[in-house]
Structures are given as C-alpha cells and as structure tokens.
C-alpha cells in the first residue's frame, strides 16, 4: 500500500461550543480518488476547510509527503500544492476564464501582467484535461453553464502543479451530461498522479470514480474502506447509522483509533 501523500490524524474542530469534528483520521493517496461521504452536516466541508487552512483546528496533526506541516491559511495550503474546489464555487463572475484560473497567481510583472502567457497556459491546462466545452478562454465566467464553471474551478486547481485536490460536491448542481464530464475530469486528475478527494452525496458517482471511501458520521470517521470491498447498501448504512455489520464506529479497534 502506498504511503498517503496527505495524512491527517486526530483532528478536532469546534465552532464555539459545537464540536463538529471528533478525532478525525483521514488519508489521501496520490493517484487515487478518495470519496468523502456523510450525511448533511456530518462535517465534510468543515474537514476540507480545515485542510485548506480556512479554519484553524483545535488539535490534530497533518503530515504532507511524510513531513509534519502546519497549515495556517489558504496560502500555506496552496504553497504545499493543496487546492480546494469549494461547494459554493469560488469564481469571480465578472472575470474571464483565464483571469479566474490565475487569480492570485498572475504571471508577468505587477505593473504589466503577461496575458498572452496566462492565456496560453490556461488553454494548455484545459486541453490536458480534455476540456472541449468552453469555446473561448476569454469568456466571462458569468456566461458559463454550471458544468463549465465547475470545469473552470477544477482546471484552476490543477494549474499549479498541485498534489492534492479536494472537490466539495462538484456535481451537486449538474445535469447528467455535465456530471459525466466532471467525473471524467476527476478520474483524469487521479490518472495524472494527484491525490483527489471527492465529496458527493451520489452513491453511483462515488462507486464509479472512487478507489476508497471515507465515511463521516456526526463528525467522526466511521470507516475508510476500499470501494471494491463494500456495497452501496453498506456505505448507505455507514452514512446513516455510522456502522454496517462489522465495519463502522462500534467496532472496538476502530473506536480505539
């Protein structure tokens, strides 16, 4: 089994008196898609935001490529090569595709941005991901469909030689065809060697693209399993009850972990 590229142990997070994440262990492996599932409010987005440095944590260790790291802000995460595509898409509507993809990491001098260079790189990244649905990289994002916006957000996250990409419900608002495209894209990211985390409520999607499934139940990691070892029914049970047969929270060795 490969060493995880990102390894989180014993992560706790509270918002005031509300303890949202309890001793969560979570690992991401390069070249694999790890699905992060759980009911509404289980803490999936919170976990992602802790990893991304948006939220500080109460306790917990984060190791990246075997070394302990301290992520104190989005910039730290980005410097490590950890990118997040947020549930509520973080794109600036009035900017075009290129401007969005390079937002915060523009090329050229501060006084004169190198637009040609950025446009070229944006095109190349989209091409490497086999994205063919956007006609011009100078289209403002406001003019794109939900799927195209999601595509841009994902392409933005891989533009940076990133190592780990966390996708928070990238297919939630999409139709059948657009979901198809995004799932293909997710698979392709893993094939390019990235560690990919996919949050989704759709079991069919999860079983199609994920190598592993991690189940959060009320802020606790109920199970982390190989997709091929479990059935839809078991995962649904894990999501709703926190346990299924001999896997899940109640098992002694899991409880100790």
């Amino acid at each position: 089994m490969t060493e995880p590229i990102l390894d989180i142990t014993g992560l706790n997070k509270s918002f005031g008196p509300v303890h949202v994440l309890h001793d969560v262990d979570f690992a991401v492996r390069a070249g694999e898609v790890t699905a992060l599932v759980g009911d509404n409010g289980a803490g999936k987005s919170t976990l992602v935001k802790c990893v991304a440095g948006i939220y500080g944590t109460d306790s917990g260790r984060v190791r990246f490529r075997g070394e302990e790291v301290h992520i104190r802000g989005p910039k730290d995460a980005a410097d490590l090569g950890i990118e997040v595509v947020y549930q509520d898409l973080a794109l600036a509507d009035n900017l075009d595709i290129v401007q969005n993809m390079f937002l915060g990491r523009e090329r050229g001098s501060a006084w004169l941005l190198d637009e040609a260079n950025m446009e070229q790189a944006a095109r190349e990244t989209l091409a490497s991901l086999s994205v063919r649905t956007v006609k011009s990289v100078r289209t403002p994002v406001s003019a794109l469909s939900g799927g195209q916006r999601q595509t841009v957000a994902i392409a933005k996250s891989v533009l940076w030689d990133s190592k780990v990409v966390l996708l928070d419900e990238p297919t939630a608002a999409l139709g059948v065809a657009q979901t198809r495209q995004v799932l293909d894209l997710v698979r392709r990211l893993a094939e390019q060697g990235l560690g990919v985390v996919l949050i989704s409520h759709n079991m069919a999607d999860v079983f199609e693209v994920a190598d592993r499934i991690a189940v959060l139940y009320l802020g606790r990691m109920a199970a982390e399993v190989h997709t091929k070892d479990v059935t839809h029914g078991q995962v649904v049970e894990l999501i709703t009850a926190g346990r299924s047969g001999d896997i899940g929270l109640a098992r002694p060795e899991n409880a100790v972990l």
Binding site: L89, A90, L95, Q99, G104, L113, S136, T139, A177
Partner: protein, 333 residues
C-alpha cells in the same frame, strides 16, 4: 468526453465579437448619447459649436473627471467614496498651506498636496478594510471631517496663490506652444491613460475587478483582500489630491467651502459611463465619457440659459436613464 460536445462553429466565430460588443454596450451607448447631446446643442444654440467652447467643455471636465477616475476603482471594487468632494477642497487648502503658508517650492508642495489626498484615501481604506465600517458610512464620516478641516485650516477664508508663480499655469497654461489647449486637459488625459492601463494591465486592476466581483473568491484564491482594498482607496485618494490641485490652480485660490456636491457629480459620471454600483464592472473610458456627458450638459444648458435648478433635474434624469439601461442589459444577459 469527446469533441462531439463542441459548440456549433458559427458560435465560435461570432461569439468573440458578440461578447465584446455586449461587454462594451454601456460604453457605446454612453458615447452615442454624448454625440447625440453634443449634436443637439450644436443645433439648438448658435454659440455651442466652436473650438473655444469645445476646449471650455474639456476644461470644465477636468475636476469631475479626475475625481471620477479614482472613484471608478473604488466603485468597481464594490465600494463607494463620498469624501472626494470635500476631500478635494481640503487638499486644495493643504496645497495653499504648503505653498503659501509653509512656502514650499512648487515641486514639493504640489506632490505633498496630492499625497495628502492619498493619506485621506488610506484612512478610508483602513476604516473600510480593517475596521469593517461600511464604505458609505466610513467615507461619509470622512466627508464631514474633511469639510470641517478645510474650514479650520483656512480660517474659513480662501487662500490665494498670487505669490506662487506658476501655480495657475498647472491648469490654465499651454504646454503646447501656440495652441489654445489648457494644461489641465492634458493632465486629465495623461492620468486617465495611466489609470486605464493600471486598471486593465496591472495586478491592482485585476484585484479591483475580482474584489468587486466576488470578494470571498478573491480571498480564497490567497489574495490579501484587506491590503488591496486599502491600496485601492489610497490610490483613489491620490486623485482627490490631484483634483484639489487642479481646482485651486484653475481658480488661483483654494476655496474651503466648495467641495460638497462634487462627489455626486463624479459618482454620476462613473455610473453613466457604465460602471456598476454593485461592483466588478466598469472602465476608465466609460468614466471619461460619463464626465464629458455631464460637462456637455452643464455647458449646453447654461448656454441655452436654462436655470441651474433645471440643470440638476435633467442631470438626475440622465443618471436614472443610465442606471436603467444597465438594469435592462443585465436582465438580458
């Protein structure tokens, strides 16, 4: 995923042009309105259409235009600056203090007055970005502070620049020998060009748009939004300072009580030029056109002897029309 999903070819060919025209529609509309208004006055009054009046209109655009250019950045970034009018009066007074009371040379006093505007912008920026005071309130407070300070520092009396040789030349001199083309207009064009380049080509401009478009997304992209907001207000403040110099150079004196009302005209120019008050959208060219529309209206109505009260009514209606067309366009998009 295959190329089957590729859009129809005619979309690919025409898409760019259509998007380009759509994106500039407000500007094109504003420019067309400018031409129509100009043509109207040319026919309506025998005194309107002449080179002399043309330069007079440009000349009278300078102060509003300068203020409007700085404000364009603030409004695109999703903010507002109400302190630019009285701030301008305060900077004019400061220019008087530096040049006449402290006796600084021109080459020092003028930049100092401009930087003073930057300092006011800096304070606005800190209030908005760090102390999280809504821009409307923060700059309203600054508007009052500046109004009061201008009166206090000048003892409520105009400061004359009679003993500062060359000061009025900043505005009324002719840099181009033999041509009746006031320096003030050249300065306006130069700063407009500079501001336009910064807005479209630099990081400052890029973040101005992105903060106004989606502040949260900008922050999530690792950009220090607070720092850039401060920079934007501070940058706009430099234009307050410049406007203070320009208006006092034009009049030959700093009038401490004349600032109020300029902010609304400047904001009107920005809005007429197609900059969205909700942020994320706008241009310097549009703002210049907006400022020209206001000057042409003021000038033309004056030449036609329309009373000042009615000029205001008409200007108000023009603003409504401009915002309304922006609305319609948004619905269509």
């Amino acid at each position: 995923m295959t190329a089957v999903k590729a859009p129809a070819p005619e979309q690919q060919a025409g898409g760019g042009l259509v998007t380009a025209v759509k994106g500039r529609l407000q500007q094109l509309l504003a420019f067309a309105s400018l031409l129509v208004i100009y043509a109207f006055f040319s026919f309506a009054s025998p005194y309107f259409f002449s080179y002399g009046n043309f330069t007079a209109i440009l000349f009278s655009t300078v102060v509003i235009g300068t203020l409007a250019i700085g404000t364009t950045f603030v409004i695109i970034a999703g903010g507002i600056d109400l302190s630019i009018g009285t701030g301008m009066a305060l900077c004019a007074v400061m220019s008087g203090v530096f040049l006449t009371k402290l006796g600084l040379p021109l080459a020092l006093g003028v930049p100092a007055a401009i930087l003073f505007g930057g300092l006011m912008g800096l304070i606005n920026g800190i209030n908005v970005a760090l102390l999280k005071i809504p821009p409307f309130i923060a700059t309203l407070a600054m508007m009052l502070v500046a109004e009061g300070l201008a009166l206090v520092l000048s003892d409520s009396a105009p400061i004359y620049f009679n003993n500062v040789p060359g000061y009025t030349d900043i505005s009324t001199g002719n840099l181009i020998p033999g041509v009746e083309f006031p320096n003030a207009v050249l300065i306006l064009l130069a700063v407009a060009l500079m501001a336009g380049l910064l807005l479209t080509k630099s990081v400052l401009g890029r973040y101005t748009y992105s903060i106004g478009s989606n502040e949260e997304a900008t922050a999530l992209s690792g950009i220090d939004v607070r720092r850039w907001k401060i920079a934007i207000y501070c940058f706009a403040g430099l234009f307050i300072g410049l406007a203070g110099v320009m208006i006092s150079a034009r009049l030959g004196s700093a009038q401490p009580a004349t600032g109020m009302g300029y902010e609304l005209q400047a904001i009107a120019a920005v809005v007429i030029g197609g900059t969205s008050l909700s942020g994320g959208k706008g241009s310097i060219v549009g703002t210049l056109i907006g400022a020209l529309i206001i000057s042409v209206l003021n000038n033309g109505l004056q030449i036609m002897s329309i009373p000042q009260e009615w000029q205001n009514v008409i200007l108000g209606c023009v603003i409504l029309v401009a915002v309304y067309t922006d609305r319609i366009r948004k619905k269509e998009a």
